[in-house]
Amino acid sequence: MKYLDEYRDADITHALAARIRARVTRPCVLMEICGGQTHTLMRYGLPDLLPPEIELVHGPGCPVCVAPLEFVDRAIEIASRPGVIFVSYGDMLRVPGSRQDLFRVRAAGGDVRIAYSPLEAVKLAQEYPTRQVVFFGIGFETTAPANAMAVWHAKRLGLTNFSMLVSHVLVPPAVRLILGSPTNRVQGFIAPGHVCTIMGHREYEALSAEFHVPIVIGGFEPVDLLEAIAMLVDQLEDGRAQLENQYSRSVTREGNVPAQKLMEEVFEITDRKWRGIGMIPASGHRFREEYAAYDAERLFGAQEIHVEEPAECISALVLQGLKKPVDCTAFGTRCTPEQPLGAPMVSSEGACAAYYAYRRHTGPEASA
């Protein structure tokens, strides 16, 4: 398909890798933030094409992975109520809560359904006027406008049986946390192309200037990622630190203004807990007062559920790029996609799931 195939071209991929090898003179640690990019890197074996100087670490950009345990428990509580139709993206169903997961709620008779878009949940609310339809709205800035549109649309339709459990998180506060940490090793970032498609350049220009760190907005195909890495290596070798846009076929400077406006109409910024990381100030969304009628947490009193994170899984360190999935003693043995200990092994965007799918048979050395 046009705009996809050419960005998977093996010759160009190898040419970019050769250019990186020729340019790099010193070790550098680079982080891709988005879980979709982590999966492309692993699926195409791109780390193997790179010179040993370049170490790639994987960031917290998997929405399922960073949704806090208490949110999963709140979802389970709401989904277990009689009369509720609980609608979620498929990956969320297997994420372990503190006692069970949404699949078990369904097995026990709960009406839990999988959807591809929040609009499907709005449609269900129209079809079942006597049932409460609740959508599990997780995601980053890419997904938040879609959820805002679903709520806005439900309001316009006058639906009183549609609500959303909102667990949106924002990328820049997490990047700020990583860069501000005394243990930070990351010297350059690939910023998530679809988040920036919505949000534009502004926040990442500010991060680059504040921390004097190179940031390149990157796409999702192998050629995109290698070009973004080449641009980061160029910046590091030149001693530059600025924001550059590799994914200019989708990302504009100002971003998607209609999407930003609708998101701001429905949601406001709030402190959010990230699974494995903890509370990050001003890092997520909650409903504005005008849309409180669509807030499933308030409707079902689920905001009272608080739980502590379990200690068995090192996902906190994986999500901050401090450890690789293969550094975990449970990886591939006690923790697999079928029997996950933590969310990064569950999600199609999780770093542990990417390593399990594509690198299970290689040792820790080969994956460094």
Partner: protein, 67 residues
């Protein structure tokens, strides 16, 4: 809501076009959870691809062995 039919390779799906008011029939769009979030810019795609082709040509003329 303005909806449109989007073809993904062989599969067609409906997507909301309200975030890409500029999108016309025949355009390429990026779709996320049922919403088009951008119209792919043919000019930008062509410009960056031309740069990539130059990198590839430079690599082909380079003496280095390919792995």
């Amino acid at each position: 809501m303005r909806m449109g039919t989007v073809r993904f390779g062989g599969v067609t799906r409906q997507a909301c076009l309200d975030f890409v008011p500029e999108a016309q029939c025949g355009d390429y769009v990026i779709v996320h959870v049922g919403f088009a979030i951008s119209r792919v810019s043919p000019e930008e795609a062509e410009r960056t691809y031309e740069l990539l082709r130059q990198i590839q040509e430079a690599d082909e003329s380079a003496p280095e062995e390919r792995p």
